[in-house]
């Protein structure tokens, strides 16, 4: 056993890369293995909870055991004298300074944004809300001391069911009532569409509440030198967080530095401005000491924002030949107890996605956000788009069943044809590119669609207790969040641009600074590939810095499958500016006109001669500044922001075959084929990994996961023993391929891939289960489709 030699490790990584990859002319498109891996594989990580500061204290929070109650008394004095305890506070101690946690997306005129104190002062509205804290020399002492805090609660009625919450005699979560907002979007003549329709499908689906469950629990460390503050946090959004911390606490923005070090997954759950981040900052200020909080998983299941939780009422009108005429959607969306950063925006992101890849004459979307005494919901992988995709893809299958048509054929009759792009949909978005025919054809061929249908018919004929079901999901989504102009139209509180900077170092190496904040996506590797091509430098000569507001001083962070589509392009644009500067310098040094130079393979060459200057030589010349032309400064460094003109629209066809044991209700995924079109691909290895993980999370919603509250508003699924995250044994392998329709809204033609798998896979799996059981008279199974639920569905219709 010995300590690892970093140079040896780097050598091994470099060797393995050489051995396994053919020589490529272009870095973009190459399956580069990740630069990030060595550190993560050898335990030299910088998770927030790994960090330590001299004199660091630990905070733990006492949390409400009641879903809804008035705090009538709270006494922290019992904790104060205990060994190791430095301080104990209740909400009252923060009341004057803690502000209100922000909601950045007031989606409608009628929206109610209730005050959201980071620590409850007079009333608690969900189980897990912080009511007091102890700061101690270590976490064991802090945990002990929490026991000594006394809180008196006067119980108030829990509000748990969205439909009941909206009835006039329901108890109220907030004084203003339980309706957070309502919104409606209309396009076309819906009445006409339904009046003339040969078929009307009317269904209600429930998007169960999910717990995002990034593997790294949250952690926060705040420190101060008495004047300025540094906050390390397991966050996806260091830049947004910095602005919001300043707004919430009144600490001037330039006195706050936020660092997202290594972050262990997010899936939207770390796209948040949390109570604990605000409170750690305030504790550092109160105590003048570094204060760290790390979340236990059971604390996290209670208090990391949840995802989904909608009731979808969908009506679809169609002609007898399967052509859809109109769609009407009415959503109830559970906000939970408060509106957090983008809580109300999540269901609204689905508004433009229910029409998916299809064309029809009329569309109406209505949404009501409802307060309940549960943990607030907010973005979870896909955020609004998986919900919408599930709804429409389920209903398209119902239409196919009603008309006794093949579900692929129904889709084919309604989808936007390849030659119709760019296409403006009924909800007003313009899809720039796509090829639904190609993706579907490829997926069906890989899947062996016809053969599986034959097997299905055979099993049905034989009355096989194990039935075969085939699920289709032809999804699209809007991502690459987002054109600032469109976000403004949607009343979102910020822009959707991204920033990138490129520093040419004197030795010719390249430092890239990105405003995106990766937490598993491999930006360091992909951005290195983009820069290597753009500047003609070796991949290994590029380093990428991110996640620290003092280094990456501008950024809009990572969510909504935006990083490559917006941030990667910002880096590319910064490279263009580096080359513009370098060209002027090269012309001066080579004594020619800039127009006489061509840039090729990392060098400016005078056309028709051997005379050239490499980008590295020019970086050094800029550094020495011995012979700079008039008006050229002593650096090639450049920065750029990119604001896309449109969303990007990945799409694809996912096909799932399940075997359902009609005697036990057990569902087994037999095969899963996904053909995705995410435009041009920078790193196919990373793209495949994103699709794998995305599909897994969507399958998990279909089969395994649900956050369950009891009738008193207690969360029952507080641990990983109760909330079933699938293990390797619970999931199949996925067979992937791609088609490639480049995006026209950015120069790389990329579309984003972070959420596509999750958006596509949930309806593919549930459609397959329902397809297997349809001969038994079953047209829906509520998610997660556990053996018990499937069995009960079968029992319900058995004679």
């Amino acid at each position: 056993m010995s300590e690892l030699d970093p140079e040896r490790v780097a050598e091994q990584i470099a060797q393995s890369d050489q051995i396994n990859e053919p020589v490529a002319t272009s870095e973009v498109g190459r399956p580069r293995k990740r630069k990030e891996d060595a550190r993560l594989l050898t335990g030299r990580t910088q998770w927030t909870d790994n960090l330590s500061r001299p004199g660091m204290l630990h905070v733990m929070f006492l949390r409400s055991p009641m879903a809804h109650a008035r705090i009538t008394g709270i006494d922290v004095s019992g904790a104060r004298g205990l060994p190791g305890v430095v301080a104990a506070f209740s909400g009252q101690d923060f009341a004057a300074e803690q502000g209100s946690l922000p909601c950045a997306w007031p989606v409608s005129e009628d929206i109610v944004i209730p005050d959201h104190p980071p620590m409850a002062v007079s009333e608690v509205r969900y189980v897990g809300e912080a009511v007091a804290c102890v700061v101690a020399t270590d976490r064991y002492r802090a945990a002990d001391a929490l026991e000594a805090i006394e809180v008196d609660y006067e119980p108030l009625p829990a509000v748990l069911d969205m439909n009941e919450a909206l009835s006039p005699d329901s108890p109220k979560v907030h004084e203003a009532g339980n309706k957070a907002f309502s919104a409606k979007i209309n396009s076309g003549d819906l009445d006409a569409a339904f009046r003339d329709a040969a078929v009307v499908i009317d269904r209600t689906y429930i998007q169960q509440r999910l717990i995002p469950s990034a593997m790294e629990p949250r952690a926060v460390l705040a420190d101060t030198d008495g004047e300025a503050f540094t906050l390390w946090s397991a966050t996806q959004i260091p830049h947004v967080l910095r602005v919001m911390l300043a707004v919430v606490t009144g600490i001037p923005e330039h006195k706050i530095r936020v660092i997202a070090p290594d972050v262990g997954g997010g899936f939207g759950s770390k796209l948040q401005v949390t109570a604990e981040e605000v409170l750690c900052l305030l504790l550092a200020r109160k105590l003048g000491k570094p204060v760290k909080w790390n979340e236990s998983r059971s604390e996290g299941n209670l208090t990391v924002h949840h995802g989904r939780d909608q009731i979808q009422h969908i009506r679809l009108a169609a002609d007898a030949d399967g052509r859809v005429r109109g769609l009407q959607v009415n959503l109830l969306a559970d906000m939970g107890a408060y509106l957090m950063l983008v809580t109300p925006g999540v269901p609204m992101l689905g508004a433009a996605m229910f029409n998916a890849i299809y064309k029809w004459d009329a569309y109406e979307f209505g949404c009501t956000g409802v307060f309940t005494t549960k943990m607030p919901t907010d973005a979870y992988r896909g955020a609004g788009r998986p919900e919408a995709t599930f709804g429409i893809e389920r209903v398209m299958d119902e239409l196919a069943a009603e008309l006794k048509m093949d579900p692929v054929e129904v889709r084919r009759r309604n989808w936007i044809k390849h030659e119709e792009f760019p296409y403006t949909t009924i909800s007003g978005l313009t899809y720039d590119s796509g090829n639904y025919e190609a993706a579907t054809e490829k997926a069906m061929s890989m899947f062996g669609y016809d053969k599986l249908r034959a097997e299905q018919a055979d099993r049905r004929d034989r009355g096989d207790p194990v039935q075969l079901g085939i699920g289709v999901s032809t999804y699209t989504e809007m991502c690459g969040l987002a054109p600032s102009r469109m976000l403004g139209e949607a009343n979102y509180g910020a822009g959707g641009w991204e920033h990138g900077a490129v520093r040419m170092l004197p030795t010719g190496k390249v430092e890239v600074i990105t405003g995106t904040s990766p937490h598993g996506q491999g930006h360091v590797t992909s951005w290195s590939q983009i820069v290597a091509d753009a500047l003609g430098v070796p991949f290994d000569d590029v380093t990428v810095l991110h996640g620290d507001t003092a280094i990456a001083h501008k950024g809009m962070d990572t969510y909504g499958s935006r990083s490559l589509v917006v941030g990667g392009i910002a880096v590319l644009k910064a490279c263009d500016k580096v080359k513009d500067k370098a060209r002027k310098l090269a012309a001066h040094l080579l004594e020619c006109s800039p127009d006489d130079l061509e840039f090729d393979a990392g060098a400016f060459k005078v056309r028709g001669t051997d005379s050239q200057k490499t980008i590295q030589e020019l970086a050094y010349s800029a550094f020495t500044a011995h012979a700079l032309p008039e008006g050229v400064e002593a650096r090639l460094d450049s920065e750029a922001t990119f604001d896309p003109e449109n969303y990007s629209f990945p799409h694809g066809t996912h096909l799932c075959a399940v075997e359902v044991d009609t005697e036990t209700g057990m569902v087994r995924i037999r095969s899963y084929v996904a053909v995705d079109d995410v435009g041009k691909v920078v790193n196919p290895l990373i793209v495949e990994g994103q699709v794998h993980g995305g599909i897994a999370q969507g399958v998990a919603q279909a089969l395994y996961e649900e956050a369950v509250y009891d009738s008193e508003g207690n969360l029952l699924t507080t641990t990983m023993a109760d909330y079933l995250l699938p293990s390797a044994a619970d999931l199949p392998d996925f067979t992937l391929d791609r088609t490639e329709s480049p995006a026209t809204s950015n120069p790389l033609g990329v579309k984003g891939v972070g959420e596509a798998g999750t958006i596509a896979s949930t309806p593919a799996v549930v459609n397959a289960i329902v397809d297997a059981l349809r001969p038994h008279g079953i047209s829906d199974v509520q998610m997660p489709c556990t053996p018990e639920r499937v069995w009960r569905a079968l029992e319900g219709v058995r004679p």
């Binding site: 040896r8 293995k33 593997m215 998983r297 990373i686 794998h692 293990s727 044994a729």
Partner: protein, 160 residues
């Protein structure tokens, strides 16, 4: 306070510990072995898996006092002669990690399952890793990495 002696990644430590101190907290907070992360509090996720006398354990479900006299290997001590372990290399080659938080435990569990079956089938690998959760990869590439790691470890044995 009980005094324990443990060897961690080849170095011997003597520590006075509270009886309730978890092994993972001894490693992380007393010995600075932060390569081993904590992902849950019910021993479901396996992120904290280490080798204790050659067998994988979840270090959140072992008390430090129970490790008295034991030899512990963490992800930080897995390599030999300055090089990564073949399983670590295989995870890199197969892109079997994204955020990397589950990776230390996953690599440890993978090595442990090969003690019982040096040439495991996909099914065996999936069952063998049941106690280690990953939220990023969907496990596809982890399964591939374990197969590759097994092959390379097998070759290393046959040529040594």
């Amino acid at each position: 306070m009980p005094r324990i002696t443990v060897t961690v990644d080849g170095i011997q430590y003597e520590e006075d510990v509270e009886p309730r101190l978890l092994l993972v907290h001894l490693l992380r907070e007393r010995l600075g072995k932060t390569g081993t992360p904590v992902g849950c509090d019910t021993s479901n996720c396996g992120a904290c898996t280490v080798m204790l006398d050659g067998k994988s354990v979840k270090s959140c479900s072992v008390l430090a006092v129970q490790a008295d006299g034991c030899d512990i290997v963490t992800i930080e001590g897995l390599g030999a002669n300055g090089s990564m372990h073949p399983m670590q290399r295989a995870f890199h080659e197969e892109h079997a990690l994204q955020c990397g938080y589950c990776t230390p435990g996953m690599v440890m569990a993978a090595i442990d399952l090969l003690r019982d079956d040096p040439e495991p089938s996909e099914e065996t690998i999936r069952q063998g890793l049941e106690g280690n959760l990953c939220r990023c990869t969907g496990y596809c590439n982890i399964v591939r990495a374990v197969r590759r790691g097994a092959q390379e470890m097998g070759q290393a044995v046959s040529t040594s």
